[in-house]
């Protein structure tokens, strides 16, 4: 963050103390939201958030900022709808403009089986409180005439589930608002400090080792993205997580308002317009598991081709910049959060490509778990032990990244 923004959001940095009741590893959206809700909901303020770079420099600064709740399983819809509702109130609550913009989201399909699936999604979502309607190609055209219903001749649009509460928000502002809110209550955010180890006595964690000395901790919450396995390795915990790069890019600015989020399920490509007017385009994860932040030319080529099949005006734009992040992909495309079987060590991971939308509900749930010691009902289905219990929540079709 530059000095101008630091002055704007009034972040108050503290020197590190020797120990805290709660140490949160990872100063991204999820880590700061956990600290924010611990401070504001439970009055737990003896908290440190340890971040190896600057806040929001990981996946919180590398995503495509879509907020939606149109998932495919009742448990997921309930969770993401809670997050969507928290986002709606977050500007008023933090008194910060997050550029939250409810654009409405088209989740388009190009196959007959996809039509059945989207009709089912609309019913399920509506039943779980996330407003979603199935819309025909004619209705899509009436709402968003830019969409080529012929799909470039190759992917005709047969319908879509329409999610009017689908939104975007400015990722940096979300991170800063949560950091500011947490800091105002006395939470310490320690930037440029890398966790190198976790100390344990018996089965209980007692603190973290960092490159700037040790910090004692009553409870440790890992809210790391991309590198969760490295943190889990420190306590000998096995995770069902594989790191995959995810890339995205923006074009130069489109000189008209495009107030929709358009996603194609079958092409695994999604498009929205940023507040600057750039068209933001994302697609599926890279094939190879990797910790590399490298972006590639053929991603641009294949994704630009796919996106311009259903939004032909994109052909007249130019690509301005691209970036990559490293995602924690879980085997069932659902998050992994809660207790770990290690005393005092909680984890919030498996956020794959769906982490930004989950920031408030993820933080709220982890804060409740830390404060009360009880796993909230909302996140019980996402527990790490679900794999051993044979209760996986397979929902790859809702993540937009199926392979």
């Amino acid at each position: 963050m530059n000095e101008f923004m630091e002055a704007q959001v009034r972040l108050s940095w503290q020197e590190a103390r020797d120990s805290y009741d709660v140490v949160i590893i990872g100063g991204g959206g999820h880590g700061l939201a956990t600290a924010y809700y611990l401070a504001t909901r439970y009055g737990i303020t003896n908290v440190a958030v340890v971040e190896r770079g600057y806040i929001g420099s990981g996946n919180s600064g590398r995503n495509t900022t879509v907020i939606r709740a149109n998932y495919g399983l009742p448990e997921s819809v309930a969770f993401y709808q809670r997050s969507l509702e928290l986002y709606r109130g977050l500007e008023a609550e933090t008194d910060r403009w997050l550029m939250h913009n409810e654009m409405g989201l088209f989740w388009m399909t190009h196959t007959e089986t996809g039509v059945r699936q989207e009709k089912m999604r609309a019913k399920l979502n509506t039943a779980m409180g996330a407003i979603t309607d199935f819309v025909t190609p004619e209705e899509i055209h009436a709402m968003c005439p830019e969409i080529d219903l012929e799909g470039g001749g190759r992917y005709p649009v047969l319908g879509a589930s329409y999610h009017p509460q689908g939104a975007t928000a400015r990722h940096d502002r979300v991170v800063w608002a949560l950091a500011e809110g947490a800091m105002r209550h006395g939470v310490a955010v320690l930037q440029h400090r890398t966790v190198t180890g976790i100390t344990m006595v018996g089965d209980r964690v007692t603190g973290v080792q960092t490159d700037h000395g040790p910090i004692g901790a009553g409870v440790i919450v890992s809210c790391v993205a991309g590198q969760s396995t490295l943190i889990a390795d420190m306590v000998g915990l096995r995770l069902p997580i594989r790191s995959h790069p995810l890339q995205a890019f923006v074009t130069n600015h489109y000189q008209r308002t495009f107030n929709h989020i358009v996603a194609s399920v079958d092409l695994a490509t999604y498009v929205s317009q940023t507040a600057r007017g750039e068209m933001l385009i994302g697609a599926e994860i890279d094939r190879q598991p990797s910790y590399s932040y490298q972006s590639s030319f053929d991603f641009l080529q294949s994704t630009a081709a796919k996106a311009s099949m259903f939004l032909p005006f994109l052909k007249d734009l130019r690509i301005l910049r691209q970036w990559g992040g490293v995602c924690d992909m879980s085997p069932d495309s659902s998050p992994v959060m809660g207790t770990t079987g290690i005393d005092g060590f909680y984890i919030s991971t498996g956020w794959g490509t769906w982490g930004f939308k989950a920031i408030p509900a993820g933080g709220e749930s982890m804060a409740e778990l830390v404060a009360t010691g009880e796993t909230p009902d909302l996140i019980k289905p996402f527990r790490l032990s679900r794999f051993a219990d044979d209760r996986v929540l397979a929902d790859a079709g809702s993540s937009g990244t199926q392979q």
Binding site: R242, S243, R287, Q288, S290, F297, P331, A388
Partner: protein, 83 residues
């Protein structure tokens, strides 16, 4: 440039032609047979650095090859064998 793997049968091809195959290794520290099954099915080493993995040449010769790859740099050591 996309990541390239050299198939012993087809020559160098981009990663899009291949399907990833992990070599699951259950740690010896897990002794309970049920836990070993769970670990085998779901848990990943997700190693940072050099790793040995299998790739299936789906859109080519449809054979498996073994590749050593660095997961940080994506540097690939040439496949040593195929089977």
């Amino acid at each position: 440039m996309s990541l390239m793997l050299r198939c012993p049968h087809c020559g160098p091809r981009t990663i899009e032609e291949y399907v990833y195959g992990e070599i699951p290794v259950v740690p010896d520290s897990i002794t309970d047979p049920n836990q070993r099954d769970v670990d085998f099915a779901f848990m990943k080493a997700n190693r940072r650095g050099w790793t040995t993995e299998r790739w299936f040449h789906l859109f080519g010769c449809r054979r498996w090859l073994t590749v050593e790859r660095n997961t940080v740099t994506n540097q690939v050591r040439q496949p040593t064998s195929s089977s």
